[in-house]
Protein backbone atom coordinates (compact mmCIF):
# COMPACT_ATOMS: atom_id res chain seq x y z
CA UNK A 1 0.00 0.00 0.00
CA UNK A 2 1.45 3.31 -1.05
CA UNK A 3 1.61 5.56 1.97
CA UNK A 4 0.29 9.06 2.40
CA UNK A 5 3.60 9.90 4.06
CA UNK A 6 5.11 10.16 0.59
CA UNK A 7 2.52 12.76 -0.27
CA UNK A 8 3.53 14.80 2.76
CA UNK A 9 7.12 14.75 1.58
CA UNK A 10 6.01 16.02 -1.84
CA UNK A 11 4.10 18.86 -0.24
CA UNK A 12 7.05 19.90 1.86
CA UNK A 13 9.30 19.84 -1.17
CA UNK A 14 6.91 21.77 -3.38
CA UNK A 15 5.33 24.32 -1.13
CA UNK A 16 8.17 26.75 -1.58
CA UNK A 17 7.98 26.61 -5.36
CA UNK A 18 4.31 27.30 -5.88
CA UNK A 19 4.54 30.99 -6.54
CA UNK A 20 6.92 30.39 -9.43
CA UNK A 21 4.58 28.03 -11.23
CA UNK A 22 1.60 30.33 -11.26
CA UNK A 23 -0.16 31.02 -14.57
CA UNK A 24 1.55 33.63 -16.67
CA UNK A 25 0.67 35.31 -19.95
CA UNK A 26 3.21 33.31 -21.96
CA UNK A 27 1.42 30.06 -21.15
CA UNK A 28 0.82 27.71 -24.09
CA UNK A 29 -2.39 25.69 -23.92
CA UNK A 30 -2.79 22.23 -25.39
CA UNK A 31 -6.42 21.15 -25.63
CA UNK A 32 -7.55 17.58 -26.27
CA UNK A 33 -11.10 16.73 -27.38
CA UNK A 34 -12.50 14.28 -24.83
CA UNK A 35 -16.15 13.79 -25.74
CA UNK A 36 -17.54 10.36 -26.71
CA UNK A 37 -16.18 10.75 -30.25
CA UNK A 38 -12.69 11.69 -29.05
CA UNK A 39 -12.50 8.97 -26.40
CA UNK A 40 -13.77 6.29 -28.82
CA UNK A 41 -11.12 7.31 -31.36
CA UNK A 42 -8.27 7.06 -28.86
CA UNK A 43 -7.99 10.46 -27.18
CA UNK A 44 -7.04 9.07 -23.75
CA UNK A 45 -3.66 7.58 -24.78
CA UNK A 46 -2.95 10.74 -26.82
CA UNK A 47 -3.61 12.87 -23.77
CA UNK A 48 -1.49 10.64 -21.55
CA UNK A 49 1.39 10.77 -24.05
CA UNK A 50 1.17 14.58 -24.20
CA UNK A 51 1.04 15.07 -20.42
CA UNK A 52 3.86 12.60 -19.80
CA UNK A 53 6.14 14.14 -22.45
CA UNK A 54 5.42 17.70 -21.29
CA UNK A 55 6.24 16.59 -17.76
CA UNK A 56 9.46 14.73 -18.58
CA UNK A 57 10.70 17.54 -20.84
CA UNK A 58 9.99 20.00 -18.03
CA UNK A 59 7.84 22.31 -20.16
CA UNK A 60 6.44 24.34 -17.30
CA UNK A 61 4.93 26.96 -19.63
CA UNK A 62 2.60 24.39 -21.25
CA UNK A 63 -0.71 23.26 -19.77
CA UNK A 64 -2.90 20.42 -21.00
CA UNK A 65 -6.68 20.68 -20.76
CA UNK A 66 -9.67 18.92 -22.26
CA UNK A 67 -12.65 20.07 -24.22
CA UNK A 68 -15.87 18.48 -25.42
CA UNK A 69 -17.03 17.74 -28.94
CA UNK A 70 -16.27 20.52 -31.41
CA UNK A 71 -18.34 18.94 -34.20
CA UNK A 72 -15.53 17.35 -36.21
CA UNK A 73 -16.00 13.83 -34.85
CA UNK A 74 -14.62 12.13 -37.97
CA UNK A 75 -11.24 13.82 -37.39
CA UNK A 76 -10.85 12.83 -33.72
CA UNK A 77 -8.63 12.57 -31.77
CA UNK A 78 -8.17 16.34 -32.15
CA UNK A 79 -5.47 18.34 -30.37
CA UNK A 80 -5.39 22.14 -30.44
CA UNK A 81 -2.30 24.16 -29.59
CA UNK A 82 -2.82 27.75 -28.51
CA UNK A 83 0.31 29.82 -28.19
CA UNK A 84 0.00 33.41 -27.03
CA UNK A 85 0.12 35.82 -29.97
CA UNK A 86 -0.12 33.08 -32.60
CA UNK A 87 -2.93 31.48 -34.60
CA UNK A 88 -4.45 28.30 -33.18
CA UNK A 89 -3.05 25.10 -34.68
CA UNK A 90 -5.49 22.15 -34.93
CA UNK A 91 -4.05 18.66 -35.24
CA UNK A 92 -6.39 15.87 -36.34
CA UNK A 93 -6.44 12.07 -36.28
CA UNK A 94 -3.78 12.06 -33.61
CA UNK A 95 -1.95 9.09 -32.11
CA UNK A 96 0.45 8.96 -29.14
CA UNK A 97 3.38 8.78 -31.63
CA UNK A 98 2.22 11.86 -33.55
CA UNK A 99 1.65 13.62 -30.22
CA UNK A 100 5.29 13.09 -29.28
CA UNK A 101 6.37 14.66 -32.58
CA UNK A 102 4.18 17.65 -31.79
CA UNK A 103 5.79 18.01 -28.36
CA UNK A 104 9.29 17.81 -29.82
CA UNK A 105 8.86 19.99 -32.91
CA UNK A 106 6.05 22.35 -32.02
CA UNK A 107 6.12 22.82 -28.25
CA UNK A 108 9.91 22.67 -27.88
CA UNK A 109 11.18 24.05 -31.20
CA UNK A 110 8.24 26.25 -32.15
CA UNK A 111 7.60 24.64 -35.55
CA UNK A 112 4.06 23.35 -36.13
CA UNK A 113 3.99 19.81 -37.58
CA UNK A 114 2.13 20.81 -40.76
CA UNK A 115 1.43 17.29 -42.05
CA UNK A 116 -0.90 16.55 -39.12
CA UNK A 117 -2.85 19.82 -39.17
CA UNK A 118 -6.45 20.00 -40.25
CA UNK A 119 -5.72 22.45 -43.08
CA UNK A 120 -3.23 20.00 -44.56
CA UNK A 121 -5.51 16.99 -44.24
CA UNK A 122 -8.60 18.76 -45.60
CA UNK A 123 -6.42 20.03 -48.45
Amino acid sequence: MKSLEELKAIREKMQGQIGIRSESSDQTRVIVGMATCGIASGARPVLTALSDAIQTKGLTNVSVTQTGCIGLCQYEPIVEVLEPGKDKVTYVKMTPEKALEVVEQHLIHGQAVKKYTISEILG
Binding site: M14, I18, A35, I39, S51
Partner: protein, 185 residues
Protein backbone atom coordinates in the same frame (compact mmCIF):
# COMPACT_ATOMS: atom_id res chain seq x y z
CA UNK B 1 -18.41 1.52 -29.44
CA UNK B 2 -15.63 1.65 -26.86
CA UNK B 3 -12.81 -0.88 -26.91
CA UNK B 4 -12.59 -1.07 -23.13
CA UNK B 5 -15.02 -0.36 -20.29
CA UNK B 6 -12.65 2.11 -18.64
CA UNK B 7 -13.24 4.38 -21.66
CA UNK B 8 -17.00 4.21 -21.06
CA UNK B 9 -16.33 5.29 -17.48
CA UNK B 10 -14.23 8.25 -18.64
CA UNK B 11 -16.97 9.24 -21.07
CA UNK B 12 -19.91 8.90 -18.67
CA UNK B 13 -17.98 10.67 -15.88
CA UNK B 14 -17.65 13.63 -18.25
CA UNK B 15 -21.46 13.90 -18.16
CA UNK B 16 -21.17 14.32 -14.38
CA UNK B 17 -18.60 17.08 -14.88
CA UNK B 18 -20.86 18.88 -17.35
CA UNK B 19 -23.68 18.52 -14.82
CA UNK B 20 -21.66 20.74 -12.48
CA UNK B 21 -20.76 18.01 -9.96
CA UNK B 22 -18.01 18.75 -7.46
CA UNK B 23 -17.94 15.20 -6.11
CA UNK B 24 -17.86 12.09 -8.30
CA UNK B 25 -17.72 8.61 -6.88
CA UNK B 26 -16.63 5.73 -9.08
CA UNK B 27 -16.84 2.13 -7.88
CA UNK B 28 -15.58 -0.91 -9.76
CA UNK B 29 -16.52 -4.24 -8.17
CA UNK B 30 -15.39 -7.62 -9.40
CA UNK B 31 -17.08 -10.54 -7.69
CA UNK B 32 -15.92 -13.80 -9.21
CA UNK B 33 -18.19 -15.93 -7.07
CA UNK B 34 -21.24 -14.09 -8.40
CA UNK B 35 -19.67 -13.82 -11.86
CA UNK B 36 -20.32 -10.07 -11.92
CA UNK B 37 -18.48 -6.87 -12.72
CA UNK B 38 -20.35 -3.83 -11.45
CA UNK B 39 -19.47 -0.25 -12.31
CA UNK B 40 -21.11 2.63 -10.46
CA UNK B 41 -20.68 6.32 -11.27
CA UNK B 42 -22.41 8.64 -8.81
CA UNK B 43 -22.32 12.43 -8.85
CA UNK B 44 -23.81 15.38 -6.99
CA UNK B 45 -24.45 17.35 -10.18
CA UNK B 46 -27.65 19.05 -11.29
CA UNK B 47 -29.55 15.80 -11.86
CA UNK B 48 -32.20 15.16 -14.48
CA UNK B 49 -35.95 15.55 -14.71
CA UNK B 50 -38.14 12.51 -15.32
CA UNK B 51 -38.47 13.51 -18.98
CA UNK B 52 -34.71 13.86 -19.46
CA UNK B 53 -34.13 10.59 -17.66
CA UNK B 54 -36.47 8.78 -20.04
CA UNK B 55 -34.64 10.19 -23.03
CA UNK B 56 -31.03 9.85 -21.90
CA UNK B 57 -30.69 6.26 -23.04
CA UNK B 58 -31.86 7.27 -26.50
CA UNK B 59 -28.92 7.94 -28.86
CA UNK B 60 -30.83 10.78 -30.51
CA UNK B 61 -30.99 12.78 -27.30
CA UNK B 62 -28.24 15.10 -26.10
CA UNK B 63 -28.07 18.41 -24.26
CA UNK B 64 -25.10 19.45 -26.34
CA UNK B 65 -25.50 21.80 -29.28
CA UNK B 66 -22.45 20.86 -31.38
CA UNK B 67 -24.09 17.71 -32.69
CA UNK B 68 -27.45 16.00 -32.46
CA UNK B 69 -26.44 12.56 -31.24
CA UNK B 70 -25.39 11.51 -27.74
CA UNK B 71 -23.82 8.09 -27.63
CA UNK B 72 -22.12 8.05 -24.24
CA UNK B 73 -24.89 6.47 -22.17
CA UNK B 74 -26.25 4.24 -24.99
CA UNK B 75 -22.75 2.79 -25.55
CA UNK B 76 -22.36 1.99 -21.87
CA UNK B 77 -25.82 0.47 -21.67
CA UNK B 78 -25.25 -1.66 -24.75
CA UNK B 79 -21.94 -2.91 -23.35
CA UNK B 80 -23.72 -4.10 -20.19
CA UNK B 81 -26.86 -5.55 -21.78
CA UNK B 82 -24.92 -7.48 -24.41
CA UNK B 83 -23.41 -9.56 -21.58
CA UNK B 84 -26.81 -10.38 -20.10
CA UNK B 85 -26.18 -7.68 -17.49
CA UNK B 86 -28.26 -4.77 -16.30
CA UNK B 87 -28.16 -0.98 -16.61
CA UNK B 88 -29.84 1.58 -14.39
CA UNK B 89 -29.81 5.34 -13.93
CA UNK B 90 -31.25 7.02 -10.86
CA UNK B 91 -31.44 10.80 -10.90
CA UNK B 92 -32.99 13.59 -8.87
CA UNK B 93 -32.93 17.24 -9.86
CA UNK B 94 -30.69 19.19 -7.51
CA UNK B 95 -29.30 16.04 -5.89
CA UNK B 96 -27.37 14.16 -8.54
CA UNK B 97 -27.24 11.16 -10.80
CA UNK B 98 -26.11 7.57 -10.30
CA UNK B 99 -25.36 5.22 -13.16
CA UNK B 100 -25.02 1.50 -12.40
CA UNK B 101 -23.91 -0.98 -15.03
CA UNK B 102 -23.62 -4.64 -14.20
CA UNK B 103 -21.83 -7.12 -16.47
CA UNK B 104 -21.66 -10.88 -16.50
CA UNK B 105 -17.96 -11.26 -15.81
CA UNK B 106 -17.38 -14.43 -17.84
CA UNK B 107 -19.57 -13.51 -20.81
CA UNK B 108 -17.73 -13.69 -24.11
CA UNK B 109 -19.12 -10.32 -25.21
CA UNK B 110 -17.95 -8.49 -22.09
CA UNK B 111 -15.40 -5.89 -23.10
CA UNK B 112 -12.21 -5.89 -21.02
CA UNK B 113 -12.17 -3.43 -18.14
CA UNK B 114 -8.98 -1.96 -19.58
CA UNK B 115 -6.85 0.71 -18.01
CA UNK B 116 -9.07 2.02 -15.19
CA UNK B 117 -6.08 3.72 -13.57
CA UNK B 118 -5.50 5.81 -16.65
CA UNK B 119 -9.16 6.87 -16.64
CA UNK B 120 -9.06 7.86 -12.96
CA UNK B 121 -5.71 9.62 -13.35
CA UNK B 122 -6.99 11.58 -16.37
CA UNK B 123 -10.18 12.59 -14.55
CA UNK B 124 -8.33 13.77 -11.44
CA UNK B 125 -5.53 15.70 -13.11
CA UNK B 126 -7.74 17.41 -15.71
CA UNK B 127 -10.51 18.35 -13.29
CA UNK B 128 -8.71 19.62 -10.23
CA UNK B 129 -11.78 21.57 -9.11
CA UNK B 130 -13.68 18.30 -8.58
CA UNK B 131 -13.23 15.70 -5.87
CA UNK B 132 -13.11 12.05 -6.82
CA UNK B 133 -13.60 8.97 -4.68
CA UNK B 134 -12.55 5.84 -6.51
CA UNK B 135 -13.06 2.37 -5.03
CA UNK B 136 -11.75 -0.77 -6.65
CA UNK B 137 -13.02 -4.00 -5.18
CA UNK B 138 -11.80 -7.44 -6.19
CA UNK B 139 -13.55 -10.29 -4.37
CA UNK B 140 -12.86 -9.52 -0.69
CA UNK B 141 -10.05 -7.00 -1.22
CA UNK B 142 -10.45 -3.34 -1.99
CA UNK B 143 -8.79 0.03 -1.96
CA UNK B 144 -10.07 3.59 -2.17
CA UNK B 145 -8.51 6.74 -3.53
CA UNK B 146 -10.09 9.87 -2.10
CA UNK B 147 -8.82 13.18 -3.49
CA UNK B 148 -10.18 15.00 -0.43
CA UNK B 149 -7.67 13.10 1.70
CA UNK B 150 -4.91 14.05 -0.73
CA UNK B 151 -5.97 17.68 -0.68
CA UNK B 152 -5.89 17.83 3.11
CA UNK B 153 -2.26 16.79 3.04
CA UNK B 154 -1.30 18.86 0.01
CA UNK B 155 -2.77 22.21 1.08
CA UNK B 156 -2.18 24.45 -1.94
CA UNK B 157 -0.05 22.07 -3.96
CA UNK B 158 -2.21 21.28 -7.01
CA UNK B 159 -3.22 17.69 -7.87
CA UNK B 160 -1.95 18.18 -11.42
CA UNK B 161 1.55 19.29 -10.46
CA UNK B 162 4.08 16.83 -11.96
CA UNK B 163 5.18 15.26 -8.66
CA UNK B 164 1.65 14.75 -7.37
CA UNK B 165 0.42 13.49 -10.74
CA UNK B 166 3.18 10.87 -10.68
CA UNK B 167 2.30 9.94 -7.10
CA UNK B 168 -1.36 9.41 -8.04
CA UNK B 169 -0.33 7.17 -10.93
CA UNK B 170 1.85 5.04 -8.65
CA UNK B 171 -0.77 5.00 -5.89
CA UNK B 172 -3.34 3.57 -8.32
CA UNK B 173 -1.02 1.01 -9.85
CA UNK B 174 0.46 -0.30 -6.61
CA UNK B 175 -2.89 -0.54 -4.86
CA UNK B 176 -4.62 -2.19 -7.77
CA UNK B 177 -1.87 -4.78 -7.93
CA UNK B 178 -2.19 -5.47 -4.24
CA UNK B 179 -5.96 -5.74 -4.54
CA UNK B 180 -6.27 -8.07 -7.53
CA UNK B 181 -2.79 -9.59 -7.69
CA UNK B 182 -2.49 -8.60 -11.34
CA UNK B 183 -5.64 -10.48 -12.44
CA UNK B 184 -6.61 -9.39 -15.95
CA UNK B 185 -10.23 -8.19 -15.73
Amino acid sequence: MMTELSLNVLDVANNSIRAGADLIEIIVQIQRELDTLTITIADNGCGMTKEQLQKVEDPFFTTRTTRKIGLGVPFFKMAALSTGGTFRIVSTVGVGTTVIAQFKLSHIDRMPLGDMNSTIHTLITLNTQINFVYTYQFDCNQFTLNTREFREILNDVPLNSPEVSEYIKEFLEENQNETDGGYLV
